[in-house]
Amino acid sequence: MSFLEVFQYTRQDSIVHRLDPRAKLFLSLVLAVISLLFLEIFPLLIIIGVLIPMMTAAKSLRRWLRSMKGLSILLLFILIFNTLLSTYPNPLNYSIALILRLIALMTSFSIFFLTVHPDELSQALIQMRVRFEFAFAMSMAMRYVPTLGQEAYAIMDTQKARGVELDKGNILKRIRNIVPIIVPLIIVSIRRALSIAESMESRGFGASKNRTYMESLSFQKRDWAVCIISLIVLIMVIYIRLNIPLPDWSIPF
């Protein structure tokens, strides 16, 4: 699963990290839309050629390469099966384009997820008029994922100590083995939820209709620049797509 690394926030100090999350969200969406507009190798290569310097600017090129390496098996899979089974005139050409599109899409979104801290994300959502409760629920889910993981391991150890053989038997048996883990996990989580609610309540959660925020995001000149450039590029690309025929360079297989 190492290819998912590219969607995980990493603490860095780079130009991309410092951009406003809303600007980055717009940039990512524009890049993704552009990647979806093309299914020809040449334009997709240009898109990836633009994305790689952006990754470098986010100081995350190495992480990106590692993720792509993790993804390579899947890519190979797509390549082989599409080439063999596709009904298109040039199946190899088509499969390569598909792979490039997948890479371009993943990279576009990773520019957002790799560089936006969950806190910034929820603050951005709030400032985009999402209700605080929803944004907070999201950031809290992220907060408690490692805690829950730890708890699951503790329960697994306990059950093993009591003689439950978790990693033996056929698939059906293994699926049934989840029950003694999931049931206590749910019970413990409900209890934990109550105690969290108690603590939040004691600190005035939901007390004031006009909740304030210690830090708020503000759009700077560079954020506007990113948005405007993205928009111009998007319009240009759509225009090219619709009105200018692309040279049909393709691999004749």
Binding site: T147, R192, S199, R203, A207, K209, T212, Y213, E215
Partner: protein, 280 residues
């Protein structure tokens, strides 16, 4: 007017078989440091919850009698309204940290109440300094030790500027060293004029700072008074309270060897002083 006043207060949780609190009468004045102790299930936690109206507003049940906190009856005021009067610190630090870093955690309470961002920033900086959290500022709760988490939880509670700090066994999941740090912070806060109510089993660590000990058993208060008086009573051993070793030595000397040291010691140092005095 006392800060906390419980008048003939009883409480039973829905679905429970017996009363959690039975006819509690308790008044606590401003600036006191009250240690509540007693065996498990004696109602200490429920008593803590009554002080910021979690009982009866959050935990529903049958009530009789009244609880008046700083002039407000908890029957008619929400937990949120009382959050800037009484702040609770709970046993499990992990469940009190709901955000992704320490600054946000401290800011969470005041943000909920709608306080000005500049004022929130000021409080955050003040508490980071007061509780020595500078090195933790950007950390995820998961990256901190239990003691650090509890310190952050305390800062988060204090950010609401409460008049009363209620701490429900804040040290029970901590190692002795971190526990001592937390208890030192609490007694330091009491010296800064904060009223403290602390549920604690390690009486040898807290009784020297406490101004009063309340002993509970089976939902009622069985003894209430200054530490030295309460800890010398036989009832402490009867219901199984961790009486400080020094006090036990004093009692044994008095009862079995007929040696009276004059005053009741709470710490080893005090005992040593008394012994020196007696032998000279």
């Amino acid at each position: 007017m006392p800060l906390i006043e419980l008048n003939d207060f009883s409480f039973k949780y829905y679905g429970a078989e017996s009363l959690a609190l039975r006819k509690i009468d308790l008044t606590i004045e401003e600036g006191e440091y009250v240690v509540i102790t007693g065996p498990s299930g004696c109602g200490k936690t429920t008593l803590c919850r009554t002080i910021n109206a979690l009982v009866p507003q959050f935990h529903r049940g049958y009530i009789s009698g009244n609880v008046i906190i700083d002039g407000k009856n908890t029957r008619d005021h929400t937990v949120a309204e009382l959050s800037s009067i009484a702040g609770l610190v709970f046993q499990e630090p992990e469940n009190q940290l709901v955000t992704l870093n320490v600054e946000k955690e401290i800011a969470f309470g005041p943000e909920n109440l709608g306080i000005e961002p500049t004022e929130i920033r000021r409080r955050v900086e003040e508490l980071i300094k007061l509780l020595d959290l500078e090195h933790l500022r950007e950390k995820h709760p998961h990256e901190m030790s239990g003691g650090e988490q509890q310190r952050v939880a305390m800062a988060a509670t204090l950010a609401l500027k409460p008049k009363i700090l209620v701490a429900d066994e804040p040290t029970s999941n901590l190692d002795p060293r971190s526990a001592e740090v937390i208890l030192d912070i609490i007694s330091g806060l009491n010296k800064l004029d904060l009223t403290v109510i602390l549920v604690e089993h390690r009486l040898d660590l807290v009784s020297k700072d406490a101004s009063r000990i309340v002993l509970m058993d089976k939902g009622s208060i069985v003894a209430d008074g200054p530490p030295r008086e309460i800890l010398a009573q036989d009832i402490c051993q009867e219901i199984g309270i961790g009486v400080p070793k020094a006090t036990l030595v004093y009692k044994r000397l008095k009862e079995q060897h007929d040696i009276d040291l004059g005053s009741i010691p709470l710490t080893g140092d005090e005992l040593a002083g008394l012994v020196k005095e007696a032998s000279s």
